[in-house]
Symmetry: C2
Amino acid sequence: MPETKNYYVGLDVGGTSVKMGLFTEDGELLAKHSVPTPPLIDAAGYAAVTGGIEQLVGKASVAILDVKGIGAAIPCPVPADGNVKLQANIQLDVPGLSEALLARCRNATVKVENDANAAAMGELWAGSARGNRSFVFVTLGTGVGGGVVIDGSVVSGVVGAGGEIGHMSMNPDETRVCGCGGRGHLEQYASATGIVTSYKMECAARGVEPVELTGTSDSRSVFEAAKNGDEAAWAAIDTMCDYLGRALALISSVVDPEAFVLGGGTSNSSDMFMDRLVERYKSYALAVCTETPIEVASLGNDAGIFGAAYVALQAAGK
Amino acid sequence: MPETKNYYVGLDVGGTSVKMGLFTEDGELLAKHSVPTPPLIDAAGYAAVTGGIEQLVGKASVAILDVKGIGAAIPCPVPADGNVKLQANIQLDVPGLSEALLARCRNATVKVENDANAAAMGELWAGSARGNRSFVFVTLGTGVGGGVVIDGSVVSGVVGAGGEIGHMSMNPDETRVCGCGGRGHLEQYASATGIVTSYKMECAARGVEPVELTGTSDSRSVFEAAKNGDEAAWAAIDTMCDYLGRALALISSVVDPEAFVLGGGTSNSSDMFMDRLVERYKSYALAVCTETPIEVASLGNDAGIFGAAYVALQAAGK
């Protein structure tokens, strides 16, 4: 009897590139590839992706008919019913792309997932959260996103807002406006952009010049400045830790996860803020929840392709 | 072939009485009974409960061997692993009680659940949340509790703090202390006790005498005063709606449920606060979540026995 061959493809659809990974059902990454993101609304765009998948499987000498699932992590909310409403920040026709994927990979189940939720599932499958039944993934990048995993599955939410923790309403007295139109959201304090904004405000309040910054979300330079003893930079980091610590405490009182896992670019500076963050979390958390571990993600930029492949594997019923 | 007979008993263990209900597997309530709560730590205490169950099944002429599950709603956190740590507010030996129940009802599975979580499951089985896959139950009583239901199951949490929404850290600037030792928790503003406290503070700020109150959690009199045009009472209700509305918005950004369901004594006054609460919720929620319905529970004080029976039915694998 021939050996059953099951492979899974994870696509991470970003603004500039579609990253691709080919996986075994045990979560082993066999090959990676990437193509520039085309407008994913017509045959030419879909062909750029299916062509990329052909190159991907070719690298590992895997037959395309042995691909049993394709997951796509996309940068917009994905409701529980899978009915994605178009978002302004990407040109993407989900039914059209799904149809094109199915036409080229005839034995595959196709599953679409929000990118932060997919990254959470990646960490669950093969990263820092392996072995957990529940955890909350927090991605600290230009914005703040998240994925809430309960009993081994990601909570999409009825309109796809599960894990949209960047938009938790933390400070009703805030006058500045969040990118979403709200005020006082977590993202305004804990994203890279938020750290830079806090830093500039702290500098202005102290009447000192900020260090040179390469852009509005160059939090790396703020962490560098902190290393060099810049008090305004430390104040910005304290603000981030205070808001993020309280947000994690709020989340504990709702779903009480086994762990928190931090990903995204800012998590690379965790050695500089983790002790403060844990201290702030403990100060706000219910007494029984103070020991919940806060860990750093281990898959880095690959979390999306891992998770996309894993949700496809789950959807295929493996 | 004889008809299979499956009945389920729900126990709601409170400070003064153990309420009991006998149910069919379709959620029909066949009989109710109650006994004063004994110290549930020895044979005499357990016998008071098992004796009550005998009377309960007798009322409906059901044989005790046809009871296939007994659920007990208890006023303390129940971790996902079921290992309940003793709480100060009730004398209860969970393993001892479970053993005594199993000895008397030999065909039954026994399942213990936190009381607010059980009430949530009751509303899911036979109340306002029937037909929902996900919802968040909020009990507005002397304190504030809750139950988070995802994909048809209640989220207990790793240490049993799932749905402990009364202790969401809403206001880090609060100086008054919550019953749990924290500060600025939802319960301090949205519980009956919180409404009374806010009312007294509003009266003091206005230099007016509060209406006569029967106790520290007599929110009913505050609602009565509001009906009669008491501005301080309306201000207290506004405070409650503002904090509760923001808490529900925060929860939406974490698990994005299909609905919120309000229970507990204060929910009986929902005609006086629901419009304000919905308005505050919408103002804080992410745009895609503003239409999430906020409903009133329908089972009243019976939610606990319904839900306790339902979690036992689930545990029995029916």
